[in-house]
Protein backbone atom coordinates (compact mmCIF):
# COMPACT_ATOMS: atom_id res chain seq x y z
CA UNK A 1 0.00 0.00 0.00
CA UNK A 2 2.70 2.44 1.00
CA UNK A 3 6.29 2.06 0.07
CA UNK A 4 9.09 4.35 1.06
CA UNK A 5 12.09 3.73 -1.17
CA UNK A 6 15.49 4.71 0.06
CA UNK A 7 14.59 8.28 0.97
CA UNK A 8 16.97 10.94 2.12
CA UNK A 9 15.60 13.95 4.03
CA UNK A 10 17.39 17.24 4.43
CA UNK A 11 16.32 20.09 6.74
CA UNK A 12 17.21 23.68 5.90
CA UNK A 13 19.11 22.42 2.85
CA UNK A 14 22.06 21.33 4.99
CA UNK A 15 21.07 19.02 7.81
CA UNK A 16 20.86 15.43 6.65
CA UNK A 17 18.37 13.63 8.85
CA UNK A 18 17.35 10.47 7.03
CA UNK A 19 19.84 8.50 4.99
CA UNK A 20 18.29 5.84 2.88
CA UNK A 21 15.18 4.80 4.75
CA UNK A 22 12.97 2.16 3.15
CA UNK A 23 9.69 1.00 4.59
CA UNK A 24 7.01 -1.24 3.19
CA UNK A 25 3.49 -1.07 4.61
CA UNK A 26 1.04 -3.78 3.53
CA UNK A 27 -2.66 -2.96 3.51
CA UNK A 28 -4.61 -3.53 6.72
CA UNK A 29 -1.58 -4.08 8.93
CA UNK A 30 -0.02 -2.15 11.78
CA UNK A 31 3.65 -1.47 11.17
CA UNK A 32 5.73 0.00 13.95
CA UNK A 33 8.78 2.21 13.81
CA UNK A 34 10.98 2.04 16.90
CA UNK A 35 14.13 3.77 17.95
CA UNK A 36 15.71 6.20 20.38
CA UNK A 37 15.11 9.95 20.43
CA UNK A 38 16.41 11.75 17.38
CA UNK A 39 16.58 8.63 15.25
CA UNK A 40 14.35 10.16 12.59
CA UNK A 41 11.08 8.38 13.29
CA UNK A 42 8.93 11.49 13.31
CA UNK A 43 10.78 12.84 10.32
CA UNK A 44 9.95 9.68 8.41
CA UNK A 45 6.26 10.16 9.20
CA UNK A 46 6.38 13.82 8.22
CA UNK A 47 8.09 12.91 4.97
CA UNK A 48 5.16 10.62 4.19
CA UNK A 49 2.44 13.06 5.23
CA UNK A 50 4.04 16.09 3.60
CA UNK A 51 4.28 18.06 6.83
CA UNK A 52 8.03 18.20 6.34
CA UNK A 53 7.55 21.25 4.17
CA UNK A 54 6.25 23.40 7.00
CA UNK A 55 9.51 22.69 8.83
CA UNK A 56 11.77 23.52 5.88
CA UNK A 57 12.51 19.88 5.24
CA UNK A 58 12.65 18.16 1.89
CA UNK A 59 12.92 14.66 0.49
CA UNK A 60 16.04 14.96 -1.65
CA UNK A 61 16.47 11.41 -2.82
CA UNK A 62 14.34 8.32 -3.18
CA UNK A 63 10.58 8.35 -3.44
CA UNK A 64 7.40 7.57 -1.58
CA UNK A 65 4.49 5.89 -3.30
CA UNK A 66 1.03 5.45 -1.87
CA UNK A 67 -1.41 3.16 -3.72
CA UNK A 68 0.94 3.23 -6.69
CA UNK A 69 1.02 7.01 -6.76
CA UNK A 70 4.12 9.08 -6.20
CA UNK A 71 3.54 11.40 -3.22
CA UNK A 72 6.96 12.59 -2.08
CA UNK A 73 7.19 16.36 -1.63
CA UNK A 74 3.51 16.90 -2.38
CA UNK A 75 1.52 19.48 -0.41
CA UNK A 76 0.27 18.18 2.94
CA UNK A 77 -3.37 18.94 2.17
CA UNK A 78 -3.15 16.98 -1.09
CA UNK A 79 -1.77 13.95 0.72
CA UNK A 80 -4.56 14.13 3.32
CA UNK A 81 -7.06 14.09 0.48
CA UNK A 82 -5.44 10.94 -0.89
CA UNK A 83 -6.14 9.22 2.44
CA UNK A 84 -2.99 9.56 4.54
CA UNK A 85 -3.57 11.20 7.90
CA UNK A 86 -0.94 11.94 10.51
CA UNK A 87 -1.74 12.16 14.20
CA UNK A 88 1.07 14.40 15.31
CA UNK A 89 3.25 13.94 18.34
CA UNK A 90 1.96 15.66 21.47
CA UNK A 91 -1.72 15.38 20.51
CA UNK A 92 -1.97 18.87 19.01
CA UNK A 93 -5.72 19.24 19.25
CA UNK A 94 -7.28 22.67 18.79
CA UNK A 95 -7.50 23.71 22.41
CA UNK A 96 -9.93 26.59 22.04
CA UNK A 97 -12.55 24.48 20.29
CA UNK A 98 -14.96 21.96 21.70
CA UNK A 99 -14.64 18.21 21.20
CA UNK A 100 -17.34 18.22 18.53
CA UNK A 101 -15.73 21.09 16.63
CA UNK A 102 -12.41 19.28 16.68
CA UNK A 103 -14.05 16.18 15.30
CA UNK A 104 -15.86 18.12 12.60
CA UNK A 105 -12.57 19.65 11.55
CA UNK A 106 -11.20 16.15 11.11
CA UNK A 107 -13.73 15.64 8.35
CA UNK A 108 -12.63 18.86 6.63
CA UNK A 109 -11.40 17.19 3.46
CA UNK A 110 -14.48 15.05 2.98
CA UNK A 111 -17.42 16.04 0.93
CA UNK A 112 -19.94 14.60 3.33
CA UNK A 113 -23.38 15.75 4.26
CA UNK A 114 -24.28 16.95 7.74
CA UNK A 115 -26.04 13.75 8.74
CA UNK A 116 -23.18 11.59 7.52
CA UNK A 117 -20.77 13.57 9.68
CA UNK A 118 -23.10 13.30 12.66
CA UNK A 119 -23.09 9.52 12.19
CA UNK A 120 -19.31 9.45 12.06
CA UNK A 121 -19.07 11.52 15.23
CA UNK A 122 -21.28 8.93 16.91
CA UNK A 123 -19.02 6.22 15.53
CA UNK A 124 -15.98 7.95 17.10
CA UNK A 125 -17.86 8.23 20.39
CA UNK A 126 -18.53 4.51 20.29
CA UNK A 127 -14.75 3.95 20.42
CA UNK A 128 -14.15 6.74 22.94
CA UNK A 129 -17.29 6.93 25.06
CA UNK A 130 -15.72 9.25 27.59
CA UNK A 131 -15.29 12.00 25.00
CA UNK A 132 -19.02 12.24 24.67
CA UNK A 133 -19.41 13.57 28.18
CA UNK A 134 -16.89 16.35 27.66
CA UNK A 135 -18.73 19.43 26.46
CA UNK A 136 -16.20 22.13 27.36
CA UNK A 137 -13.13 23.27 25.48
CA UNK A 138 -10.76 20.55 24.36
CA UNK A 139 -7.86 22.30 26.11
CA UNK A 140 -9.33 21.28 29.44
CA UNK A 141 -9.36 17.55 28.64
CA UNK A 142 -6.90 15.27 30.39
CA UNK A 143 -3.87 14.06 28.49
CA UNK A 144 -5.41 10.69 27.71
CA UNK A 145 -8.64 12.24 26.53
CA UNK A 146 -6.74 14.64 24.31
CA UNK A 147 -4.93 11.70 22.74
CA UNK A 148 -8.25 9.96 22.19
CA UNK A 149 -9.61 13.12 20.60
CA UNK A 150 -6.58 13.34 18.32
CA UNK A 151 -7.13 9.76 17.17
CA UNK A 152 -10.88 10.32 16.85
CA UNK A 153 -10.23 13.42 14.76
CA UNK A 154 -8.05 11.34 12.47
CA UNK A 155 -10.82 8.75 12.13
CA UNK A 156 -13.19 11.49 10.99
CA UNK A 157 -11.06 11.97 7.88
CA UNK A 158 -11.72 8.33 6.94
CA UNK A 159 -8.09 7.77 6.04
CA UNK A 160 -6.74 4.61 4.47
CA UNK A 161 -3.44 5.02 6.21
CA UNK A 162 -3.05 6.55 9.66
CA UNK A 163 0.33 7.69 10.90
CA UNK A 164 0.45 7.68 14.70
CA UNK A 165 3.33 9.54 16.29
CA UNK A 166 3.89 8.41 19.88
CA UNK A 167 0.30 7.98 21.01
CA UNK A 168 1.53 6.78 24.41
CA UNK A 169 3.51 9.92 25.19
CA UNK A 170 2.80 11.24 28.66
CA UNK A 171 0.06 8.74 29.47
CA UNK A 172 -0.19 6.55 32.54
CA UNK A 173 0.52 2.83 31.96
CA UNK A 174 -3.16 1.99 32.32
CA UNK A 175 -4.19 4.60 29.78
CA UNK A 176 -1.47 3.44 27.41
CA UNK A 177 -3.01 -0.01 27.50
CA UNK A 178 -6.46 1.40 26.83
CA UNK A 179 -5.32 3.61 23.96
CA UNK A 180 -3.41 0.78 22.31
CA UNK A 181 -6.35 -1.52 22.66
CA UNK A 182 -8.55 1.00 20.90
CA UNK A 183 -5.96 1.58 18.19
CA UNK A 184 -5.91 -2.14 17.54
CA UNK A 185 -9.67 -2.39 17.30
CA UNK A 186 -9.86 0.62 14.98
CA UNK A 187 -7.31 -1.10 12.77
CA UNK A 188 -9.33 -4.28 12.65
CA UNK A 189 -12.87 -2.94 12.50
CA UNK A 190 -12.38 0.08 10.27
CA UNK A 191 -9.67 -1.52 8.16
CA UNK A 192 -7.34 1.43 8.57
CA UNK A 193 -3.69 0.63 7.92
CA UNK A 194 -1.34 2.16 10.48
CA UNK A 195 2.22 3.16 10.99
CA UNK A 196 2.97 3.42 14.67
CA UNK A 197 5.96 5.37 15.94
CA UNK A 198 6.73 4.54 19.53
CA UNK A 199 9.16 4.78 22.39
CA UNK A 200 7.19 2.15 24.23
CA UNK A 201 8.58 -0.73 22.20
CA UNK A 202 6.96 -3.39 24.31
CA UNK A 203 3.44 -2.13 23.68
CA UNK A 204 4.06 -1.31 20.05
CA UNK A 205 5.53 -4.71 19.17
CA UNK A 206 2.70 -6.48 20.87
CA UNK A 207 0.18 -4.86 18.53
CA UNK A 208 2.13 -4.52 15.30
CA UNK A 209 2.65 -7.24 12.76
CA UNK A 210 5.93 -5.89 11.48
CA UNK A 211 8.54 -3.57 12.92
CA UNK A 212 11.46 -1.42 11.86
CA UNK A 213 14.15 -0.19 14.20
CA UNK A 214 15.77 3.11 13.37
CA UNK A 215 18.93 4.65 14.67
CA UNK A 216 20.54 7.94 13.58
CA UNK A 217 18.58 8.25 10.39
CA UNK A 218 18.83 4.68 9.18
CA UNK A 219 16.86 1.49 9.46
CA UNK A 220 19.12 -0.88 11.36
CA UNK A 221 16.85 -3.85 11.79
CA UNK A 222 13.49 -5.00 10.61
CA UNK A 223 11.41 -8.07 10.97
CA UNK A 224 8.05 -9.53 11.77
CA UNK A 225 6.59 -9.29 15.26
CA UNK A 226 7.98 -12.67 16.43
CA UNK A 227 11.38 -12.10 14.92
CA UNK A 228 11.81 -8.82 16.73
CA UNK A 229 10.34 -10.05 19.99
CA UNK A 230 12.82 -12.94 19.99
CA UNK A 231 15.83 -10.97 18.85
CA UNK A 232 18.37 -10.81 21.69
CA UNK A 233 19.49 -7.27 20.92
CA UNK A 234 15.96 -5.95 20.72
CA UNK A 235 15.17 -7.67 23.97
CA UNK A 236 18.10 -6.08 25.70
CA UNK A 237 17.86 -2.55 24.38
CA UNK A 238 14.17 -2.04 23.80
CA UNK A 239 12.21 -4.51 25.83
CA UNK A 240 14.29 -4.66 28.99
CA UNK A 241 15.63 -7.86 30.49
CA UNK A 242 17.48 -9.78 27.81
CA UNK A 243 20.65 -11.75 28.18
CA UNK A 244 21.71 -13.35 31.44
CA UNK A 245 25.04 -11.62 32.04
CA UNK A 246 23.30 -8.24 32.01
CA UNK A 247 21.65 -9.14 35.27
CA UNK A 248 25.01 -9.33 37.00
CA UNK A 249 25.41 -6.32 39.22
CA UNK A 250 29.10 -6.04 38.40
CA UNK A 251 28.49 -5.46 34.71
CA UNK A 252 25.66 -3.12 35.31
CA UNK A 253 27.61 -0.69 37.36
CA UNK A 254 30.87 -0.69 35.40
CA UNK A 255 29.44 0.98 32.33
CA UNK A 256 26.22 1.27 30.45
CA UNK A 257 26.45 -0.91 27.42
CA UNK A 258 25.39 0.79 24.24
CA UNK A 259 24.47 -1.11 21.18
CA UNK A 260 26.20 -0.37 17.93
CA UNK A 261 24.16 -1.92 15.20
CA UNK A 262 26.59 -1.65 12.36
Amino acid sequence: MLSVNNIEVVYDEVILVLRGVSIEVPEGEIVTLLGPNGAGKSTTLKAISGLLKSEDGEVTRGDITFMGEQISNHQAEEIVRKGVFQVMEGRRIIEDMTVIENLRLGAYTRKAGRSEIEDDIEMVFSYFPRLKERTGLAGYLSGGEQQMLAIGRAMMAKPRLMLLDEPSMGLSPLLVKEVFHIIRSINQEQGITMILVEQNANMALRHASYGYIMESGKIVLDGSQEELLNNEDVKEFYLGGGSEERKSFKNLKSYKRRKRWI
Partner: protein, 297 residues
Protein backbone atom coordinates in the same frame (compact mmCIF):
# COMPACT_ATOMS: atom_id res chain seq x y z
CA UNK B 1 -27.24 69.52 32.53
CA UNK B 2 -28.28 69.19 28.93
CA UNK B 3 -29.93 65.77 28.81
CA UNK B 4 -31.05 66.01 25.24
CA UNK B 5 -27.55 66.63 23.98
CA UNK B 6 -26.21 63.83 26.15
CA UNK B 7 -28.84 61.43 24.84
CA UNK B 8 -28.14 62.41 21.28
CA UNK B 9 -24.43 62.00 21.68
CA UNK B 10 -24.75 58.63 23.40
CA UNK B 11 -27.00 57.24 20.66
CA UNK B 12 -24.54 58.57 18.16
CA UNK B 13 -21.75 56.97 20.13
CA UNK B 14 -23.43 53.60 20.19
CA UNK B 15 -23.96 53.68 16.44
CA UNK B 16 -20.46 54.83 15.56
CA UNK B 17 -19.20 52.42 18.19
CA UNK B 18 -20.77 49.42 16.49
CA UNK B 19 -19.17 50.54 13.26
CA UNK B 20 -15.81 50.75 15.04
CA UNK B 21 -16.60 47.31 16.37
CA UNK B 22 -17.16 45.94 12.86
CA UNK B 23 -13.91 47.39 11.54
CA UNK B 24 -12.07 46.25 14.67
CA UNK B 25 -13.45 42.78 14.06
CA UNK B 26 -11.99 42.82 10.57
CA UNK B 27 -8.66 43.91 11.98
CA UNK B 28 -8.73 41.11 14.56
CA UNK B 29 -9.66 38.61 11.86
CA UNK B 30 -6.44 39.35 9.99
CA UNK B 31 -4.32 39.53 13.10
CA UNK B 32 -5.68 36.32 14.52
CA UNK B 33 -5.35 34.17 11.44
CA UNK B 34 -2.23 35.59 9.81
CA UNK B 35 -0.42 37.39 12.68
CA UNK B 36 -0.21 40.53 10.58
CA UNK B 37 -0.93 43.88 12.21
CA UNK B 38 -2.73 45.59 9.38
CA UNK B 39 -2.15 49.32 9.45
CA UNK B 40 -3.96 49.63 6.14
CA UNK B 41 -7.33 48.66 7.64
CA UNK B 42 -8.68 52.22 7.36
CA UNK B 43 -7.76 52.31 3.69
CA UNK B 44 -10.06 49.36 3.06
CA UNK B 45 -12.92 51.62 4.15
CA UNK B 46 -11.61 54.36 1.93
CA UNK B 47 -11.23 52.19 -1.15
CA UNK B 48 -14.59 50.56 -0.60
CA UNK B 49 -16.35 53.89 -0.25
CA UNK B 50 -14.66 55.37 -3.33
CA UNK B 51 -15.40 52.34 -5.47
CA UNK B 52 -19.04 52.39 -4.44
CA UNK B 53 -19.20 56.16 -5.01
CA UNK B 54 -17.68 55.80 -8.46
CA UNK B 55 -20.12 53.04 -9.39
CA UNK B 56 -23.11 55.09 -8.26
CA UNK B 57 -22.07 58.53 -9.49
CA UNK B 58 -19.80 57.91 -12.49
CA UNK B 59 -21.55 54.85 -13.86
CA UNK B 60 -24.99 55.77 -12.60
CA UNK B 61 -25.77 52.32 -11.23
CA UNK B 62 -28.56 52.03 -8.68
CA UNK B 63 -27.46 51.38 -5.12
CA UNK B 64 -28.69 47.79 -4.95
CA UNK B 65 -26.47 46.86 -7.90
CA UNK B 66 -23.49 49.07 -7.16
CA UNK B 67 -23.22 48.01 -3.55
CA UNK B 68 -22.92 44.24 -4.12
CA UNK B 69 -20.44 44.89 -6.92
CA UNK B 70 -18.36 46.93 -4.49
CA UNK B 71 -18.36 44.09 -2.00
CA UNK B 72 -17.43 41.58 -4.66
CA UNK B 73 -14.64 43.85 -5.87
CA UNK B 74 -13.29 44.22 -2.35
CA UNK B 75 -13.38 40.46 -1.81
CA UNK B 76 -11.10 39.89 -4.77
CA UNK B 77 -9.06 42.94 -3.87
CA UNK B 78 -8.35 41.32 -0.48
CA UNK B 79 -7.38 38.00 -2.08
CA UNK B 80 -5.12 39.75 -4.57
CA UNK B 81 -3.45 41.85 -1.90
CA UNK B 82 -2.71 38.76 0.13
CA UNK B 83 -1.44 36.83 -2.88
CA UNK B 84 0.78 39.50 -4.35
CA UNK B 85 1.99 41.55 -1.43
CA UNK B 86 1.69 39.55 1.77
CA UNK B 87 2.36 35.97 0.76
CA UNK B 88 6.05 36.62 -0.02
CA UNK B 89 6.32 38.10 3.48
CA UNK B 90 5.37 34.87 5.24
CA UNK B 91 8.17 33.94 7.60
CA UNK B 92 9.72 37.42 7.55
CA UNK B 93 10.11 39.31 10.84
CA UNK B 94 6.98 40.98 12.16
CA UNK B 95 8.51 44.46 11.94
CA UNK B 96 9.00 44.10 8.16
CA UNK B 97 5.39 43.11 7.75
CA UNK B 98 4.28 46.10 9.82
CA UNK B 99 6.39 48.45 7.71
CA UNK B 100 4.82 46.89 4.66
CA UNK B 101 1.26 47.51 5.81
CA UNK B 102 2.14 51.09 6.77
CA UNK B 103 3.54 51.48 3.27
CA UNK B 104 0.37 50.03 1.80
CA UNK B 105 -1.67 52.47 3.85
CA UNK B 106 0.24 55.49 2.51
CA UNK B 107 0.18 54.11 -1.01
CA UNK B 108 -3.56 53.55 -1.05
CA UNK B 109 -4.32 56.90 0.51
CA UNK B 110 -2.19 58.70 -2.02
CA UNK B 111 -3.55 56.79 -4.97
CA UNK B 112 -7.14 57.40 -3.88
CA UNK B 113 -6.48 61.14 -3.59
CA UNK B 114 -4.81 60.98 -6.98
CA UNK B 115 -7.72 59.25 -8.66
CA UNK B 116 -10.66 60.87 -6.90
CA UNK B 117 -9.26 64.18 -5.68
CA UNK B 118 -8.87 65.52 -2.19
CA UNK B 119 -12.27 67.13 -1.69
CA UNK B 120 -15.20 65.59 0.13
CA UNK B 121 -17.70 64.17 -2.34
CA UNK B 122 -21.20 63.49 -1.08
CA UNK B 123 -22.93 60.19 -1.73
CA UNK B 124 -26.06 60.33 -3.83
CA UNK B 125 -29.25 60.26 -1.79
CA UNK B 126 -30.16 56.63 -1.15
CA UNK B 127 -32.94 56.80 1.40
CA UNK B 128 -36.11 58.79 0.97
CA UNK B 129 -35.76 60.52 4.28
CA UNK B 130 -32.58 61.97 5.74
CA UNK B 131 -33.34 60.99 9.28
CA UNK B 132 -35.83 59.11 11.36
CA UNK B 133 -36.89 59.73 14.90
CA UNK B 134 -36.16 57.10 17.53
CA UNK B 135 -37.41 57.79 21.08
CA UNK B 136 -37.63 61.47 20.22
CA UNK B 137 -34.08 61.61 18.89
CA UNK B 138 -33.31 62.42 15.29
CA UNK B 139 -31.09 59.68 13.84
CA UNK B 140 -29.77 59.59 10.28
CA UNK B 141 -31.34 56.82 8.20
CA UNK B 142 -27.91 55.68 7.04
CA UNK B 143 -26.92 55.21 10.66
CA UNK B 144 -30.00 53.13 11.36
CA UNK B 145 -29.09 51.03 8.37
CA UNK B 146 -25.51 50.78 9.58
CA UNK B 147 -26.69 49.59 12.96
CA UNK B 148 -28.81 46.88 11.37
CA UNK B 149 -26.05 45.86 8.99
CA UNK B 150 -23.48 45.79 11.79
CA UNK B 151 -25.61 43.50 13.89
CA UNK B 152 -26.21 41.24 10.88
CA UNK B 153 -22.48 41.12 10.23
CA UNK B 154 -21.75 40.24 13.82
CA UNK B 155 -24.30 37.45 13.87
CA UNK B 156 -22.94 36.32 10.51
CA UNK B 157 -19.40 36.24 11.88
CA UNK B 158 -20.55 34.23 14.86
CA UNK B 159 -22.33 31.72 12.69
CA UNK B 160 -19.46 31.55 10.21
CA UNK B 161 -16.81 30.79 12.81
CA UNK B 162 -18.95 28.51 14.88
CA UNK B 163 -20.65 26.37 12.28
CA UNK B 164 -19.26 26.68 8.77
CA UNK B 165 -16.53 24.45 7.48
CA UNK B 166 -14.41 27.34 6.22
CA UNK B 167 -14.84 29.20 9.50
CA UNK B 168 -13.67 26.24 11.56
CA UNK B 169 -10.74 25.80 9.21
CA UNK B 170 -9.78 29.45 9.68
CA UNK B 171 -9.91 29.09 13.45
CA UNK B 172 -7.76 25.99 13.25
CA UNK B 173 -5.26 27.86 11.10
CA UNK B 174 -5.20 30.70 13.60
CA UNK B 175 -4.55 28.25 16.42
CA UNK B 176 -1.77 26.22 14.84
CA UNK B 177 -0.78 26.27 11.20
CA UNK B 178 0.96 22.91 11.17
CA UNK B 179 -2.03 21.20 12.74
CA UNK B 180 -4.28 22.84 10.18
CA UNK B 181 -2.10 21.43 7.43
CA UNK B 182 -2.20 17.99 8.95
CA UNK B 183 -6.00 18.19 8.80
CA UNK B 184 -5.85 18.90 5.09
CA UNK B 185 -6.55 22.62 5.35
CA UNK B 186 -4.74 24.84 2.90
CA UNK B 187 -3.16 27.52 5.07
CA UNK B 188 -2.68 29.80 2.09
CA UNK B 189 -6.35 29.64 1.22
CA UNK B 190 -7.30 30.40 4.81
CA UNK B 191 -5.00 33.43 4.77
CA UNK B 192 -6.43 34.70 1.50
CA UNK B 193 -9.96 34.19 2.77
CA UNK B 194 -9.35 36.19 5.93
CA UNK B 195 -7.98 39.13 3.95
CA UNK B 196 -10.88 38.90 1.55
CA UNK B 197 -13.53 38.90 4.27
CA UNK B 198 -11.75 41.65 6.16
CA UNK B 199 -11.53 43.89 3.10
CA UNK B 200 -15.12 43.22 2.13
CA UNK B 201 -16.66 43.93 5.53
CA UNK B 202 -14.46 47.01 6.05
CA UNK B 203 -15.63 48.36 2.71
CA UNK B 204 -19.19 47.90 3.86
CA UNK B 205 -18.47 50.06 6.89
CA UNK B 206 -16.73 52.55 4.62
CA UNK B 207 -19.80 52.90 2.43
CA UNK B 208 -22.03 53.50 5.46
CA UNK B 209 -19.77 56.20 6.87
CA UNK B 210 -19.39 57.69 3.40
CA UNK B 211 -23.15 57.99 3.11
CA UNK B 212 -23.30 60.10 6.24
CA UNK B 213 -20.17 62.20 6.06
CA UNK B 214 -19.37 62.07 2.37
CA UNK B 215 -16.34 60.32 0.94
CA UNK B 216 -12.88 61.73 1.53
CA UNK B 217 -9.51 60.57 2.77
CA UNK B 218 -10.74 61.35 6.29
CA UNK B 219 -12.37 57.92 6.14
CA UNK B 220 -9.06 56.20 6.65
CA UNK B 221 -8.92 57.89 10.04
CA UNK B 222 -11.29 55.11 11.05
CA UNK B 223 -8.38 52.72 10.77
CA UNK B 224 -6.52 54.59 13.48
CA UNK B 225 -9.58 54.87 15.69
CA UNK B 226 -9.86 51.13 15.52
CA UNK B 227 -6.57 50.63 17.34
CA UNK B 228 -7.78 51.71 20.76
CA UNK B 229 -10.87 49.56 20.20
CA UNK B 230 -8.84 46.51 19.27
CA UNK B 231 -6.23 46.89 21.97
CA UNK B 232 -8.89 47.59 24.53
CA UNK B 233 -10.71 44.40 23.63
CA UNK B 234 -7.55 42.31 23.46
CA UNK B 235 -5.79 41.94 20.13
CA UNK B 236 -7.08 38.51 19.30
CA UNK B 237 -10.65 38.49 20.54
CA UNK B 238 -13.52 39.09 18.15
CA UNK B 239 -16.00 39.67 20.97
CA UNK B 240 -13.46 42.01 22.52
CA UNK B 241 -13.24 43.96 19.28
CA UNK B 242 -16.98 44.58 19.28
CA UNK B 243 -17.02 45.55 22.94
CA UNK B 244 -13.94 47.72 22.47
CA UNK B 245 -15.52 49.45 19.49
CA UNK B 246 -18.68 50.20 21.42
CA UNK B 247 -16.77 51.51 24.43
CA UNK B 248 -14.59 53.76 22.28
CA UNK B 249 -17.61 55.09 20.40
CA UNK B 250 -19.46 55.90 23.62
CA UNK B 251 -16.38 57.36 25.29
CA UNK B 252 -15.67 59.68 22.40
CA UNK B 253 -19.12 61.11 22.49
CA UNK B 254 -19.22 61.34 26.24
CA UNK B 255 -15.92 63.22 26.13
CA UNK B 256 -17.43 65.48 23.54
CA UNK B 257 -20.34 66.16 25.86
CA UNK B 258 -18.11 66.94 28.85
CA UNK B 259 -15.95 69.11 26.68
CA UNK B 260 -18.77 71.16 25.20
CA UNK B 261 -20.59 71.57 28.51
CA UNK B 262 -17.86 72.01 31.08
CA UNK B 263 -14.23 71.99 30.00
CA UNK B 264 -14.18 73.82 26.69
CA UNK B 265 -10.68 72.59 25.83
CA UNK B 266 -11.77 71.48 22.37
CA UNK B 267 -11.10 68.26 20.50
CA UNK B 268 -11.33 65.97 23.51
CA UNK B 269 -13.45 63.88 21.19
CA UNK B 270 -10.38 62.59 19.40
CA UNK B 271 -8.01 62.28 22.30
CA UNK B 272 -10.15 60.78 25.03
CA UNK B 273 -10.14 57.19 23.72
CA UNK B 274 -6.37 57.11 23.73
CA UNK B 275 -6.19 58.32 27.34
CA UNK B 276 -8.58 55.59 28.36
CA UNK B 277 -6.56 53.13 26.34
CA UNK B 278 -3.42 53.96 28.30
CA UNK B 279 -5.23 53.62 31.60
CA UNK B 280 -6.84 50.28 30.74
CA UNK B 281 -3.62 48.83 29.44
CA UNK B 282 -1.91 49.77 32.70
CA UNK B 283 -4.48 47.71 34.57
CA UNK B 284 -5.07 44.89 32.08
CA UNK B 285 -2.15 44.55 29.67
CA UNK B 286 -3.87 41.84 27.63
CA UNK B 287 -6.93 43.97 27.04
CA UNK B 288 -10.37 43.19 28.35
CA UNK B 289 -10.91 39.95 26.43
CA UNK B 290 -7.40 38.93 25.34
CA UNK B 291 -6.75 35.21 25.06
CA UNK B 292 -5.85 33.52 28.24
CA UNK B 293 -3.92 30.46 27.18
CA UNK B 294 -5.27 27.21 28.51
CA UNK B 295 -2.48 25.60 30.44
CA UNK B 296 -2.73 22.20 32.07
CA UNK B 297 -0.59 21.75 35.11
Amino acid sequence: MNYELLGNLLVNGAIVGTLYGVVAMCFVLIYKSTQVVNFAQGEFLLIGAWVCWALLVKFGLPFWIGFPITLLFMFFFGVLLQLVVLRPMIGEPIISVIMLTIGLSIFFQASMSWIFGVFVKPFPQIFETESVSILGLQVQTAYVMSMIISVIIMVGFYYFFKHSRAGLAMRATAFDQQVAQSLGISVQKAFALSWAISAMVSALAGVVVGMVNGVSSALSFFGIKVFPAVILGGLDSIVGAIAGGLIIGLLENFAEFLDSQYFHVGNMYTVAPFYILVIILMIKPYGLFGTKDIERI
